[in-house]
Amino acid sequence: MDALSALVEGFRVALTPINLLWALAGVTLGTIVGVLPGIGPALTVALLLPVTFSLPPIEAFIMFAGIYYGGMYGGSTTAILLNTPGESASVMTAVEGHLMARAGRGGSALATAAIGSFVAGTLATAALTFSAPVMANAALRFGPAEYFALTLLAFVAVSSALGDSTMKGLASLFFGLVLGLVGIDPLTGEARLSFGIPQLLDGIDVVIVAVGLFAVGESLFAASSIGLDPESVIPLRGSIWMTREDWSRSWRPWLRGTALGFPAGVLPAGGSEIPTFLSYALERRLARDPKGFGNGAIEGVAGPEAANNAAAAGTLVPLLTLGLPTSATAAIMLAAFQQYGLQPGPLLFTRDAELVWGLIASLYIGNVMLLVLNLPLVGVWVRLLAIPRPFLHAGILVLASVGAYSVNRSIFDIGLLYAIGGAGYLMRCREIPLAPAVIGAILGPMAEQHLRRALAAAEGSWMIFLTRPISATVLLVAAGIALLPVVARRWSSAPRERRTQPSG
């Protein structure tokens, strides 16, 4: 096997004590920066990239891989513990993960996220090693019509996240969709709902929507129950380590999340959010106890976290084989390659084989280092929740504010964060779920772009969604998911039981 011997060679280059030290340094730096709220993996990598410039290529890539994985995991840590996701791909992690943390199971949530990231990262890197060119070519068959079908599928699938009352879930979803409309329409240059405010022209950053609704809204809500409610956050209950039951509930979501995340990452416009939504929806459907969702279900952390990491590794496929940066992080990695005179693309594997395989080997190493560094630290991180409530919420508000500021370095964004936080508080008071709003703000603009690109390329003909086989298939699956519960309910009046139809 050619790839295998090349990979062994790559490991031979990468596995020296000093390189392992670089990997550890990278993971440490990445985790520390990633933990800061509002700073997602893309910004972490961009900010720390200059650190690697002084190193020779192999060492730099090893450190870089460490920074990348560390940044992703650091973001999940704050999403789980403080409910401040740093990027749209960790929104679903925050939903169940933070509920787990509040119920004293933050340790398990962090551990399942770390191990899930490791499993997904390793499997996805293996898939990258052996199937990159094939996958990349298949992914090119996806055009705007297919992407629109995919976003529609994600919409249908996550409607299960709408909560108990459909009406309230829809209200939340539409709130998010309206937020997503704000800004310049990128296809015509027309400003929408921006009321002449220049800072709104680029739209509202999803990080601000998520942190505003989740973190600021929650701090206000927590304030509203001071002196009326018993302590609602239990810092730690039982072992900080994953129990046997946690393991048995986590391993399947890890694998399913990987299976969803990797192909979605390979798609040039797939993004890493959609697989996390699909994974969450899938786990909720497959869960032995669907009632656990909404009360901190470990499957809801394990699946999306694995999907997120697998998608991140997936984005390396188009980057390395086609030279296409398909995410913000990938675009920065491209800049890193170019720093060393490497031009990712079809010729990379033949021209700079040693470096590429060194990089792939360092991805494996970075992944292992992530686990080595962060598993022992889970106990330390969880202590964050033991901070007295006044300090905890004060700290969350300060960090959320500074995080919102650092996205665009604009005080206006802090005001926006607070306004959305106020809306989040009112929604909490009326028991309107928050997650659909964030999902709407993420998926709405995506769906619209893909829809209109597809229509433009087809001269306005809607038939394009049905005549293209992949798009038609995905739409059929989406329709199936939407209609199945209705049909099933009519079929038998028996209480809802566990269903295992595939989705996506």
Binding site: M167, L170, P186, L187, G323, L324, R430
Partner: protein
């Protein structure tokens, strides 16, 4: 005795005129990259920063990222900051010019002071390898026959790729409004759509296409340069019979109303940097073409570009503002706003009905006072961040929130809270400013004229 005079004169002029090369020109220079870290403008800013610092042309060079709306947010801040900040440069380019015109931006590049054009990249028109089109005249034939059926893929609307599509249509005698341009959010997405055959032709910078041209998956049809650039064997658009030339240039601007002296100083500084061997090395590494141009020549160039791009943007958009360009333009906003109105209406109605049916108050008692206290802390932070700076404002927010959450408040606890707040805020400040080089507002109230000269750049932290 007399022979000493010239020496003294040189010394005096060296002291009085800061544009002499031997001395560092400025203590602190700010380069504003109107984009997020990582992009082309940011790379230009950081490369320039390194060259200027290494050459000792300025002691401290700070790069500030002000991302948003294709550089127009950065431009607006730069222009609105007024003439006070004579030691700052804004990275600009054709993309920003196109965006200001395309978005009807209230600010214009003309409000800033031109300093110099630095680099540029030529645009390439390419088709997938499987396409029957081999040369520009064939492409133009297909395009002319039914312009609407010929989908061009490229970067954002109003960007360089879109403008080139418009210029080509105009030169080919097709109304630019009939150009079916599919805007993608990034170069990568556009190339992927072209590789997958989802659009008929693609327009992008040469470097974006280069690997695919070499591997044979894409075929270059024409390049937008005046003549074939060295090492690139692609026919020019002119060779294909259309009188179109374009370069995606990047340059630097000074603040509006810059005095002639200040402008000359900045021009000298940029010129020295751009003619240094280090800069030439950067150009070679990044495959950027050297397009250095300053002074009156750059003024003229900028004016000509403004006229040309303004004309083509107006024609691409059609006579009426918001003429339908892309199918489905109104669909989603109407669906979303209409749907939102229906859902919110229904929610209000059902809640009112529930209230009538179950008159008992369903909402539990809430501690309104604490919520208001926290909200006040947030408002205070928002108002005081700019004048007092991050450390003071955030400490206030921390203490106010902590007090709102604390049920018991002894003097000791108050002091303890303040101590925790100051240490925590200081650590956060350290992490963001020194650790990550992401400056936080340091407070305009503390700026005396003396302090202000040491700490430039406050105007950007708006």
């Amino acid at each position: 005795m007399l022979c000493r005079w010239p020496a003294l004169f040189v010394l005096l002029s060296a002291l009085s005129s800061p544009s002499v090369a031997a001395q560092p020109l400025d203590a602190h220079l700010v380069i504003v990259a109107p984009a997020a870290p990582g992009g082309g403008w940011d790379q230009t800013a950081r490369a320039l920063q390194q060259v200027i610092e290494r050459h000792g042309l300025a002691r401290i060079v700070e790069v500030q990222n002000v991302p948003g709306a294709a550089g127009t947010i950065g431009l607006a801040q730069f222009v609105n900051a007024g003439g006070g900040n004579t030691r700052s440069l804004l990275i600009t380019g054709l993309v920003m010019l196109g965006a200001t015109l395309w978005n009807d931006s209230p600010v214009s590049i003309a409000q800033a002071t031109p300093i110099a054009r630095l680099t540029g990249e030529y645009e390439v028109i390419a088709v997938p390898a499987a396409s029957p089109i081999g040369e520009l005249h064939q492409l133009i034939d297909v395009f002319r026959r039914r312009p609407e059926a010929f989908a061009w893929g490229g970067g954002s609307a109003g960007g360089t790729d879109h403008i080139l599509a418009g210029l080509i249509a105009e030169a080919a005698g097709v109304d630019p409004r009939r150009v079916n341009y599919v805007a993608f959010s990034g170069g990568g997405e556009a190339v992927a759509a072209l590789l997958g055959g989802h659009v008929a032709a693609g327009i992008s910078g040469y470097s974006e296409f280069a690997p695919h041209l070499q591997s044979g998956r894409l075929r270059a049809i024409a390049i937008s340069s005046p003549s074939r650039p060295p090492g690139i064997n692609v026919a020019t658009i002119r060779e294909g019979g259309l009188n179109v030339e374009m370069v995606n240039w990047r340059g630097v601007l000074g603040v509006s109303g810059l005095s002639n002296d200040d402008r000359a100083r900045l021009t000298t500084l940029v010129s020295q940097a751009a003619h240094s061997p280090e800069w030439q090395k950067v150009l070679l590494e990044r495959e950027w073409s050297d397009l250095y141009l300053d002074g009156a020549a750059f003024d003229d160039y900028l004016a000509a570009e403004r006229t040309r791009v303004g004309r083509i943007v107006a024609r691409l958009r059609g006579p009426a503002r918001g003429a339908p360009i892309v199918a489905g333009q109104r669909l989603v906003p109407i669906a979303v706003l209409g749907g939102a109105a229906v859902v919110f209406g229904a929610l209000v109605v059902t809640q009112a009905r529930n209230r009538r049916r179950f008159p008992a108050p369903s909402s539990p008692v809430r501690n309104r006072g604490a919520v208001i206290a926290v909200a006040l802390g947030l408002v205070m932070f928002l108002v005081l961040l700019q004048p007092l700076g991050f450390i003071a404002a955030a400490s206030g927010l921390f203490v106010m929130t902590a007090n709102a959450f604390a049920t018991l408040r002894s003097r000791r606890q108050q002091l303890w809270t303040i101590a925790v707040a100051v240490v925590f805020i200081w650590l956060v400040h350290l992490a963001f400013t020194d650790g990550l080089n992401l400056p936080l507002p340091h407070g305009t109230w503390f700026d005396s004229p003396v302090l202000g000269s040491l700490t430039t750049g406050r105007a950007w932290t708006r």
